[in-house]
C-alpha cells in the first residue's frame, strides 16, 4: 500500500493522536512508559554493578555515592537490581498480553461468529477458566514446567485470554448482524473470509484498548507470582522478588521494598491512564468532542 498523507485512515490516526496529545496526563504517562522501557533496555549499561554480585562486607548499606540506593541483605547493589528488575516487568507483561490476544481473539471471534453449540462449548470453557484463579494454575505449571518467569507468564496468558475472548465475542456478535456481512456472503465469500477479512478489522479498537488496560494488571500479577515464589527466581532481580526479599527487613530498612513498589505503581498507573485516554480517543463520538475542546 502506498502511504497517502491525505487518506482518511491517516487522517483518523492523526485525529486520534491529536486527542491523546491534548491530554497532559496521557502524555506524561506515555513519557513515563517510554522512560521505563528505556531503562529496561539499557539496564546492563546503566547498572553500576552486576545485579547478582554479592558484597558480604557491605550488607544493608544506606544510599551512598558508592551504592546510590544502598545494598540489600547480601550486599547486592539495589540500583542495579531495580534497573534489571524493570526488564522482567516491562517485557514479560508485553509477552503475556500478546499471548492473551493471540489466544483470546480467535476463540472469541469463532465463538461469536458460529454461535450455537460451538459458542456454548467455548464459552463454558472460558467460564471454567475464569473461575480458576491464575495463581493456582501458576502453581501447577511451576510444578510441571519448573518455576520461572515463563511458567508465570504462561499461566497468566492461559487464564487471561478469557476476558479478551469475551470482549471479541461481544463485538463480533454485534457486527455479524450488519448488512455488510450479508453483502459479503452475496459476493460468495466463505465463513473464514467473512470472519477474518470483514468482521475482525471492525473489532480492533476494543481489542487494542483492552490490551493496554491489561498491561497494568499483568505487571501486578507477574510481580505477585514472583513474590510468592513461582515467578522469577532469586537471585534474579524482579521487582516482586526484591519486594519479597525486602519485606523481612521492612521496619529497619524500608527503602528496600518501598522503592520497587512505588515504581510498579507508577508504571501500572501510567498504563491505565494511557488506556483510559486511548479509549476516549478511539471512540468516534467522543473523539470529535475532545478534539474540539
Amino acid at each position: 500500500m502506498i502511504f497517502d498523507k491525505d487518506s482518511p485512515r491517516v487522517r483518523e490516526l492523526r485525529l486520534t493522536l491529536y486527542v491523546i496529545r491534548k491530554s497532559k496526563m496521557a502524555m506524561v504517562s506515555i513519557c513515563v512508559l517510554v522512560f521505563f522501557f528505556t531503562i529496561a533496555i539499557l539496564a546492563p549499561v546503566l547498572s553500576p554493578y552486576d545485579p547478582t554480585e554479592v558484597h558480604p562486607a557491605e550488607v544493608f548499606m544506606p544510599p551512598s555515592s558508592k551504592y546510590p540506593l544502598g545494598t540489600d541483605y547480601l550486599g547486592r547493589d539495589n540500583l542495579s537490581r531495580i534497573l534489571h528488575g524493570a526488564r522482567y516487568s516491562m517485557f514479560a507483561s508485553l509477552l503475556v498480553v500478546a499471548l492473551t490476544v493471540l489466544i483470546g481473539m480467535p476463540i472469541g471471534a469463532v465463538s461469536g461468529y458460529l454461535g450455537g453449540k460451538v459458542d456454548e462449548t467455548l464459552m463454558r470453557i472460558t467460564d471454567v477458566i475464569l473461575s480458576f484463579p491464575g495463581i493456582t494454575l501458576a502453581l501447577l505449571l511451576a510444578y510441571v514446567m519448573g518455576r520461572g518467569i515463563f511458567s508465570a507468564a504462561l499461566a497468566l496468558s492461559l487464564t487471561g485470554w478469557t476476558s479478551m475472548a469475551r470482549i471479541v465475542r461481544g463485538v463480533v456478535l454485534s457486527e455479524k448482524g450488519k448488512d455488510y456481512v450479508i453483502a459479503a456472503r452475496l459476493i460468495g465469500k466463505n465463513d473464514f473470509q467473512i470472519l477474518f477479512g470483514e468482521i475482525m478489522p471492525n473489532c480492533m479498537y476494543p481489542v487494542i484498548i483492552q490490551a493496554v488496560m491489561m498491561m497494568g494488571t499483568v505487571i501486578i500479577s507477574l510481580a505477585g507470582l514472583s513474590f510468592i515464589g513461582v515467578g522469577v527466581q532469586p537471585p534474579e532481580p524482579d521487582w516482586g522478588v526484591i519486594i519479597a526479599e525486602g519485606r523481612q527487613y521492612l521496619l529497619e530498612y524500608p527503602w528496600l521494598s518501598i522503592l520497587p513498589g512505588i515504581l510498579m505503581i507508577t508504571v501500572v498507573l501510567a498504563y491505565n491512564l494511557v488506556g483510559d485516554r486511548l479509549r476516549d480517543a478511539l471512540d468516534p463520538r467522543l473523539r470529535g468532542e475532545l478534539a474540539a475542546k
Binding site: 487518506s7 448488512d179 455488510y180 450479508i182 453483502a183 459476493i187 460468495g188 471492525n202
Partner: protein, 324 residues
Amino acid sequence: MSNTILSVEDLHIIFRTYLGTVHALNGVYLEVGQGESVGLVGETGCGKSTLGLSIVRLLDESAKITKGRIIFNNESILDKSQEEMREIRRKYISLIFQDPTAALNPVYKIGDQIVEALQMSRSLKKGEAIEEGSKLLSMLGIPESKKVMEQYPHELSGGMRQRVMIAIALSKSPLLLIADEPTSNLDVTIQAQILELISELRKNTKMSLLLITHDMGIVAQVCEKVAVMYAGQVIEFGNVRDVFKSPLHPYTKGLLKVANLIGEKSRLESIPGTIPDLRNLPPGCLFSPRCPYKFSKCMQNRPSNIFVDKGRSVACWLLEYKVG
C-alpha cells in the same frame, strides 16, 4: 414469458422466537421471467424482505422453511449444499439493500470492495479489476470514479453509496437482481435517478429484476409485473397495467386507493384495520378481518392463488365464482 428464471411455489417460512412462532410466509407463489422486472409490494412486515432473503438462502438461523419450493434457473435452491449456494451467490444472484451505509464495510476503501467483488465472480487480475471497477462506477454516473475508489464509505453521500452498492451487485452480471427497497433511504431526486438507472441497466443487460418496495408509484414506473403481498402471501399477481387498471383483490383495491392511483383524488384514505398477528393467524383468508366483501367461506378456508388467466392470479374466494 417462456423462460422462467425464478419461481417460488407455496413457500412457507416460520421464525421461532421466544414470543411464539411467527408465520412470516404463508404460501407464496411468485414467478419472474428472464429479463422481466417484477415489483413486490406490500405493507411493512408482510414478508417482502423475508422472501427476498430466502431466495439467496441468507435468512436468519431462527427462520425455518417448512414447505414449498424455490426454483432458480431450473434448479431447486432449497436442495443446494452450502457450497453450491455460495457458487450461485457468487455468480448469478445479486441483492441490493435498503441501507447502503450498513452494506459497505466501513474499514475498506470503495475501490477495494469493488475489486474484491469483481475478483470473486470473475477471474480478473488486480489491475484489470481496478479498470473494470472504475468503468462500472462511471457507467453508474459517478464522476471521477478513480478518486471515489480511493475513498471510504463514510465519505460518500447516500446516493453515491447506493450507486456503489449497485456497482458491486452488477459486477457479476447477475441473472437476477433483487433490490430490497433500494431507494427508501434516499431523497426524492436521487430516488428517481437510481430507479432510472436500474431500469436502464435492466433493459441493456437481460437481467431479471425483483424490486421490493412499498411504493406503488415506483412499481408503476419501473416494473412490468407486480406481486402484491399481504401477511406473507402474494394475494395478487399480474401485469402492472392489468392490476392497476382493474385490481381484483379487495386489498389491492384498497392499496391503490390509498396510493391515490385510482379513484377520485380525495382526502388521505386508509384501509381500516391492521394486518393480522403473524403469531396467531386467522383460520380463513388472512385479509378477511379487514375485508368489506367477506362471506362465510372466507372465515373457514384460506384461498390459494387462483389463476384468472395467463399470468394473472389472485388469492380471493370472490374470484372463484367469477372464474367458475
